[in-house]
């Protein structure tokens, strides 16, 4: 594993290949990549596109901490990017790459990173739908102004 991690909030497209290259290395036999991308429906509503907002400095700090914790716990190398701003259908909003000598640790670490990110990193999305725009806060969808 590398001691460093690569963790960024970005406002343009995520370069998944670059993240994979970051975590690849001759000692890593397994590379696992999770990509979250915008779906065309949510809770029965049609979604046209999404807009992500973040508390950027805190989000970057939190994401780096998650990646470092995973790296230490499972002996893996982690790279994470989350995109903010307008994101179209099928475009990645988040990518998590984990490189590991063995696959079991890669699966554990990657799952930990995405689950913890969704729970603790201050990023929100606004769903832009034909019938309005909605902030998604936990289980609530709140009409945006």
């Amino acid at each position: 594993m590398k001691d460093e991690v690569h963790c960024r909030i970005v406002s343009g497209p995520i370069d998944v290949k670059a993240l994979e290259a970051y975590v690849s290395g001759p000692e890593n036999g397994a590379v696992l990549t999770f990509v979250g991308q915008v779906r065309n429906h949510s809770r029965g509503r049609e979604v046209a596109w999404l807009e992500y907002d973040a508390y950027v400095p805190m989000a970057e700090k939190q994401i780096s901490r998650i990646a470092q914790d995973a790296g230490r716990k499972w002996g893996v190398t982690v790279a994470i990017e989350h995109r903010i701003g307008r994101i179209e259908l099928c475009e990645p909003s988040v990518a998590i790459c984990v490189g590991s000598p063995h696959r079991a640790e890669a699966f554990e670490a990657c799952r930990y990173c995405i689950d913890t990110l969704k729970e603790t990193v201050p990023i929100w999305k606004k769903e832009v739908c034909p019938d309005g725009e909605f902030w998604i806060e936990g289980e609530e969808a709140i009409q945006a102004k």
Binding site: H41, Y55, I136, E137, G138
Partner: protein
């Protein structure tokens, strides 16, 4: 003393750039939230649904603020509702 306050989610629609707020020395995060709500009822849910962060770390509502702290009210995150 003053603190800088940021809002997110639908609260950011109300104060996109945050606020600078004058609070009595010794105020806690909870005191700040009550002050904000008394000045603007649209922020009522801040105290009910948000976690607070001070200087980019989550804190308990009882934390006493220091001058020039940056306070963020963090609504529940979006989880996995319209992507993975």
């Amino acid at each position: 003393m003053t603190v800088k306050v940021y809002f997110f989610g639908h609260f950011r629609d109300i104060h996109p750039d945050g606020l600078i707020v004058d609070v009595p020395v010794g105020s806690t995060v909870a005191d700040l939230a009550r002050l904000l709500i008394s000045n603007d009822p649209r922020l009522e849910a801040v105290q009910r649904i948000c976690r607070a962060a001070v200087n980019e770390e989550y804190v308990a509502a009882g934390l006493q603020l220091s001058p020039d702290d940056t306070v963020a009210f963090i609504p529940p995150m979006s989880g996995g509702s319209s992507e993975g």
